[in-house]
């Protein structure tokens, strides 16, 4: 990689890694997995930087995040074992932030991988159904159906409902 490309990659990471890490966190629900997932996606982007730099590097990383998350789930069966508790631990001065985090992550944890990816891409990344279909490599109908099922679950999630009332 040429020096100017290397510099462009560093600038991209500095500017966008915080946002992309939050995407990864919403997809995985775990800080360490999120960091690992982001590093995987950025590594793939770095190796193809000369091809993707002029197009849409963030779109490439976003697509890699969503699909690598689903692929990890398929390849690593130990991830399918149920977990009773989310790993984060509250501290008194962060009680409200903790409540929001717990409510959102627990609500997302009740969704299937695809439903979760659809929700994150739709409501965090603000993509249209057609764009999400492009990212996940499926039809717009599949996205619509996954979104509808996901929203039905999220609407009735008690923790999320409480947080929605706070927001309102």
């Amino acid at each position: 990689m040429r020096a100017e490309q290397d510099q462009a990659f560093t600038t991209f990471v500095s500017a966008r890694s915080r946002h992309l890490l939050q995407t990864a966190y919403l997809l995985t629900g775990d800080r360490h997995r999120a960091e690992d997932l982001l590093q995987t996606a950025l590594t793939r982007a770095y190796l193809r930087w000369d091809r993707i730099e002029s197009e849409d590097p963030e779109g490439y990383v976003r697509r890699t995040l969503a699909n690598a998350h689903i692929d990890w789930w398929r390849r690593k069966p130990w991830r399918e074992e149920s977990t009773a508790e989310l790993p984060d631990v509250p501290t008194p001065d962060q009680a409200s932030a903790y409540d929001v985090r717990q409510a959102v992550l627990q609500a997302l944890a009740g969704l299937s991988r695809r439903q979760r990816a659809v929700v994150v891409l739709r409501y965090y990344e603000d993509l249209s159904e057609a764009e999400i279909a492009g990212v996940l490599g499926c039809s717009a109908g599949t996205v619509k159906s996954a979104a509808s099922r996901a929203m039905a679950k999220l609407r009735t999630h008690p923790g999320l409902s409480a947080q929605r009332e706070e927001v309102a």
């Binding site: 919403l26 398929r74 929001v100 959102v104 439903q115």
Partner: protein
């Protein structure tokens, strides 16, 4: 506000923001360098490896394929299934959903499940210890190897001495699991289709023949 708007606000909450690790760019470069080095080594070794395969390995592969065809390596009494050559037990149907089957079997001490519709979602976990008290391995609702058309099955290894397993939802609903076993299974397997479109699984409970609860595990 609508749930759409609320979700946008909640997902973008600062409570969910994380600080990227320092030195992320440098870590990515190191990982990329390792990847390139491995790729170069792999490419360089491919020709030599092909020769070795041709000369040494191919005859044994041919023998193994012949063995597989004739079932010579399968323990006696096992109904072989060519789709799962490593199975050391019967391959048993757990559930049928929309024309697809959810299958289970063991590969030694590893417990495997898959849907007949999408075979790459096969999943094996283990080791399964038949003497383990209580619930050991559970494949949760939403596991790709147990999902057909967004309909979710929960399955697990039956705890010793249990004759019933019930899946409890947080909203109070219950789903009774069916218990299946097969030739050489180290432990029976329970499974049930759960309607989690309106709620989430709370816990699993196992009961003995007298109806006494003997094991419980949170989902």
């Amino acid at each position: 506000m609508s749930i759409d708007d609320d979700l946008r606000v909640l997902l973008r909450s600062p409570a969910l923001a994380l600080e990227p690790p320092s030195g992320l760019s440098a870590d990515v470069r190191r990982r990329a360098r390792r990847h390139r080095a491995r790729t170069r080594v792999a490419a360089g070794g491919t020709t030599a490896a092909l020769v070795v395969v041709g000369v040494l390995v191919l005859p044994s592969v041919r023998t193994a394929v012949d063995d597989l065809r004739e079932g010579r390596n399968q323990p006696a009494g096992i109904r072989t299934d060519p789709r799962f050559p490593a199975a050391t037990t019967d391959v048993v149907t757990l559930q049928r959903i929309n024309g697809a089957e959810i299958l289970t079997w063991f590969e030694g001490s590893r417990w495997c499940t898959v849907t007949s519709r999408v075979t790459q979602k096969e999943s094996c976990v283990g080791p399964v210890d038949s003497a383990h008290r209580g619930f050991s391995w559970v494949q949760a609702a939403g596991s790709p190897s147990l999902t057909v058309d967004d309909q979710h099955v929960v399955a697990g290894i039956v705890p010793p001495d249990a004759s019933r397993v019930i899946v409890h939802m947080r909203d109070g609903r219950e789903f009774e699991a069916v218990i299946a076993t097969g030739n050489r299974f180290p432990a029976p397997v329970w499974s049930t289709l759960v309607d989690d479109s309106t709620g989430v699984v709370s816990h699993y409970a196992a009961f003995d023949r007298l109806g006494k609860e003997i094991a419980r595990r949170n989902a």
